[in-house]
């Protein structure tokens, strides 16, 4: 059981660092997901309403392309434009969050039974009232599950942000690699997993409480 006492000692010595990295990690994930939500959800709503097929497929293609770029590559591409550090990492993660959020919002709104829309129209809902009182509540399960999936992915991908000097739990793992320190690698990994699982649970609970079903 020697390794256990060693590890506890390691934790007690390094916990300020671990905490700092964890907070950075949370901050980056949170900001990029929120940015994604702020942009992708209204965009998704707009696209679901827009009759212009060309615009729709154009936007979806662009967003799809971002999604296909390997994470490490996207981070690297950011450097010539935005340098290193937090800013390029946030931008890259934000771009990743777009597709699942956009697609789920779009699908959610599109999935509302046209008969229900017609009932609402015939009853005298204006298009804004219809969106807010009928379509968004009905699309909500799709949208929130998009947010859930995105959050979990982003928390996992944020570990790579350390490569371009943005910090986060990836920093812990990278220095573990450098010093050949198993406890560092192990701690960074576990913390990233714990954060992802907790976020998943938290959003799952919100989903249950707020969905109509």
């Amino acid at each position: 059981m020697e390794w256990m006492t060693d590890y506890i000692q390691f934790l007690s010595e390094r916990y300020p660092d671990i905490l700092k990295y964890t907070v950075e990690h949370l901050y980056m994930s949170f900001v990029s997901v929120v940015l994604g939500i702020v942009i992708a959800i209204p965009l998704g709503i707009y696209l679901s309403k827009s009759e212009q097929k060309l615009v729709n497929s154009f936007v979806f293609t662009i967003v799809n392309i971002f999604q296909t770029i390997p994470t490490i590559a996207l981070l690297a591409i950011m450097i010539p434009f935005l340098g290193i550090g937090l800013k390029p990492a946030l931008v890259a993660l934000f771009l990743y969050s777009l597709l699942p959020l956009l697609r789920n919002t779009y699908t959610g709104i599109k999935s509302v039974d046209p008969k229900i829309i017609e009932a609402a129209r015939g009853m005298g809902y204006s298009s804004m009232q219809r969106l807010i009182r009928i379509e968004l509540p009905l699309a909500f399960p799709y949208i929130i599950s998009g947010i859930r999936v995105t959050t979990v992915y982003i928390i996992s991908w944020t570990t790579l942000a350390a490569v371009i000097g943005a910090g986060g739990l990836g920093g812990l793992i990278l220095s573990g690699l450098g010093f050949n320190s198993k406890p560092l690698i192990f701690t960074g990994t576990i913390m990233a997993i714990v954060i992802a699982v907790l976020a998943d649970q938290l959003i799952g609970r919100a989903e249950k409480r707020l969905s109509y079903k």
Binding site: I116, A119, R121, G122, M123
Partner: protein
Amino acid sequence: MIRLEGVQKVYEDGFKALKNINIEFKRGEISVLIGPSGCGKTTTMKLLNRLIEHTEGKIYIDGKDISSIDPIDLRRSIGYVIQHIGLFPHMSIKENVAAVPKLLKWDAERIEQRVTELLNMVGLDPETYKNRRPSELSGGQQQRVGVIRALAAEPSIILMDEPFSALDPISREQLQDELVRLQKDIQKTIIFVTHDMDEAIKIADRIILMKDGEVVQQGTPEEILQNPANEFVEEFIGKDRLQNYKSMPMVEEFMEKRSAIVSPDMPLSKAMKQMEENHLDTMIVVDGYRQVKGQLSIFQMFNNKDANRLVVDVMKPVKYRVQTGTPLEDALNLMSQHDVHALPVIDKKLGCLGLITKNRMIEAMARIYSMPRKEGA
């Protein structure tokens, strides 16, 4: 009242969905738009709340051209029941019913009151149901909610787009009965779209039969059954239904005519004599303008033996009457439902023609029973 004048609907691709439609939907009547699919019946209905815009002609509601009314306001003033129920699944029953009142910004108390009243009206206990979700209700219950949702904001016009077609036959019959019963109290102008002729005959005050974007025939169910305008109408009604209808005798074939009619200023002695001669226990009192004034039965004669009194002094008011063209069966139903012994028969201009009595009814039934049943057709 709603009036369509020379209304046309031409789609952008040139398809003529409606060609020169002229219809009047009367206040307080159930008008049924019927026809095969693609005939334009739903399109016609949707013109009224501007879910579809007409391309030519005029539509007036109470004399006002609807193209001058904001569509949102127009729709809030017209009840709308759609085919597949269309309740909002994320809202409770109460919220569903309250939808339009809420859009119209009624206060909470008034909404609560209205919802309770409406749920009671269709036999759904408010305490049990108002907080449930639509998915927790049966199909029949859901469509009851669909109907009262359309009534919630007290519109004078209600559009119903095949509202009962998705229901099982038993619930469908129940809802049809309920609609007819409700309509007696609420007296709304109802435009009802269906493709089911039985349904139309059952609920309609007026049937408008359409085909290929044109009105083929309109009239009361009796008028259409008696005089189908052409082969298409006959076909659509169905040979069996026509056969049945024609073999069923009408009230006028079996009514007592002059023999049962007395004038208000006739002395009772004379009226009694007429009763005796014609073996009648009830007579109908009709004035010089052929208007029904009342009825005189043997009971009133018994209670007023003063021979010098006049008919007008002792006669009783008449509550129920039947129109010419009513099948005997319906008259009999009416009699047993309200426990009356005789029904005056009136024509379209409300003039009295005679009286159908239980005795004559027996005679008619005896004849139907003695008729050889036709096999096949």
